[in-house]
């Protein structure tokens, strides 16, 4: 086994990028778990794929395309939630997979072959550039700052939306900002674990953290720790055994979750 790979600059960059995504995946994942929004996150990611396709089509940044598409579909969902014709989860299923299908077709038409873009679906953290790392950390710190600022309100809404509203929390505003941060994280994490596995990277560490925590704050911290460990372990696995990095990170998170099941739940 050749361990010299671990000190290669590309591997260091991958580690830094992975940890940058982990620190936001942790708290975002907690809110996704608390508010039962996993399917919603999945829909944003699939919309991101459509955004990538449109970005390629018009030759603009695919990251920008992904963020914009994710935000647009979030707005669409918020608007459609008010109607009573179709149940929300059915609606999510329709929008999510329509976006996925449209995205794959668009990318296929633009580039000739979708298979050349598997990195968008599964991530390609081992090829991140120095600029990517810097962008990810700036974005991550910005998202963390927003979440810290809205923290109390977000938790109040997660516990009981109507009660929070009755007690003066501006629910619509907080939701809007949270959706935008979710969309942003989707775009950042695209490069690391790929669009198909973003929800996994947010939800699994948070689910593992639940068993360790006795308050929302400790759960968020544990969630960051688990996401970070998963990023490091997944990258090591990838480096040492040649597995694809993104899925390796997610698999590591799943392994951590199974480990926490061994702990008896006291909190």
């Amino acid at each position: 086994m050749n361990l010299s790979i671990l000190s290669e600059p590309f591997f260091i960059r991958a580690l830094l990028a992975g940890l940058g995504v982990a620190i936001v995946a942790g708290p975002i994942g907690c809110f996704i778990v608390w508010r039962r929004m996993a399917y919603f996150g999945e829909t944003l990611a699939h919309a991101g794929l459509l955004g990538v396709g449109v970005g390629l089509l018009f030759n603009v940044s695919i990251t920008l395309g992904a963020v914009v598409a994710a935000i647009l579909i979030a707005f669409l969902l918020l608007a459609l939630k008010r109607q009573q014709q179709v149940a929300t989860d059915t609606l999510l299923g329709i929008l999510s997979h329509t976006a996925l299908a449209l995205g794959i077709i668009t990318i296929g038409l633009v580039t000739g072959a979708v298979t050349g873009h598997l990195d968008i679906l599964f991530g390609d953290v081992l090829t991140v550039s120095r600029n990517d790392v810097i962008t990810i950390w700036i974005g991550a710190l910005a998202v963390l700052a927003v979440i810290a600022y809205l923290w109390r309100d977000l938790i109040a809404i997660s516990v009981h939306e109507d009660l929070a509203r009755a007690e003066g929390v501006n629910v619509q505003w907080v939701e809007l900002v949270f959706l935008i941060t979710m969309a942003a994280v989707t775009a950042f994490a695209m490069k690391i674990v790929g669009l198909l596995l973003i929800t996994a990277l947010t939800v699994i560490p948070a689910a593992a953290a639940r068993r360790m925590a006795n308050s929302p704050e400790t759960m968020a911290v544990w969630s960051i720790i688990f996401a970070g460990i998963a990023a490091i372990a997944g990258l090591l696995m990838s480096a040492l055994y040649g597995t694809i990095a993104g899925p390796s990170i997610v698999l590591s998170a799943s392994f951590l979750f199974v480990l926490t099941l061994l702990k008896s739940q006291r909190n």
Partner: protein
């Protein structure tokens, strides 16, 4: 009753229409200091919706609501699903949107009888304990108006009696107005100053005794309603449509019945 102060909160010709359905129709309601006003009615009568409209959670489609300036409201919602996903202690539940020191928390929890549960997990509370925690949460804001939507749900019979006693004591000790939704007619009749029978519109309203005798009330709660105090059975058969208006005199008839 002399009303020197204006009402804490009052709604005038309140209406809510969703699509073609009239959820609320021409509802007038007010709550004053030290007054317990209880809204009763069958399932789907719009009781919780009325509460939500009055709290500003759902916008009305007609009518208006007037609140006393800087009115402090304590609200206990009907459904409080405790997600096991969120790790939450009682202490934290009480301070979600309102900062309070330990002494205040202890004091308020003692008032609702669960001071010993301050560090308990919310997910571990029984139905009655959760209602008491939510009540303490509302009281922590020193409300002038308490809004309680089905405060005795998921509570056993003995617990119900104690909770109503607690609510009655809170009114006496704090002098706040209480707007309550309830299905438990027995206790409602004992503790309320005014009862409002709602079924989209106000069917009848007035002092408990008067409301009990009203024909609208027996229509709403079935033929045994007269003997209701002796034993209230959970029959909400409501055959409004088949009945014509009856005459009644000893309570305030509501206007605007549209059958």
């Amino acid at each position: 009753m002399l009303k020197i102060n204006p009402a804490l909160i009052s709604a005038h010709s309140l209406g809510l229409k969703i699509g073609m359905r009239n959820i609320l129709d021409d509802v007038n309601i007010s709550v004053h200091d030290r007054e317990i006003v209880t809204v009763i009615g069958p399932n789907g009568a719009g009781k919780s919706t009325l509460i939500k409209v009055m709290l500003g959670l759902v916008p009305q489609t007609s009518g208006h609501i007037h609140k006393r300036d800087d009115l402090r409201v304590g609200y206990v919602p009907q459904r409080f699903p405790v997600s096991p996903n969120v790790p939450l202690s009682v202490r934290r539940l009480l301070t979600l949107t309102h900062k309070a020191n330990d002494l205040e928390l202890q004091h308020t929890l003692a008032e609702t009888g669960i001071a010993h549960l301050i560090d308990a997990r919310v997910a571990d509370l029984s139905g009655g304990e959760l209602q008491r925690a939510l009540l303490a949460r509302a009281l922590l804001r020193t409300p002038q108006l308490l809004v309680l939507d089905e405060p005795v749900q998921a509570v056993d019979f003995d617990g119900e009696l104690k909770l109503y006693e607690l609510i009655s004591n809170i009114r006496k000790a704090r002098g706040c107005g209480i707007l309550m939704v309830s299905h438990d007619l027995h206790m409602v009749m004992a503790e309320s100053d005014r009862v409002i029978c709602l079924n989209g519109h106000i069917c009848c309203e007035g002092a408990p005794i008067a409301v009990q005798k009203s024909p609208e009330f027996s229509k709403m709660f079935g033929p045994k309603a007269a003997a209701m105090i002796a034993g209230y059975s959970h029959h909400h058969d409501h055959d409004h449509e088949s009945h014509e208006h009856s005459h009644f005199s000893d309570f305030k008839p509501s206007h605007g019945h549209k059958h």
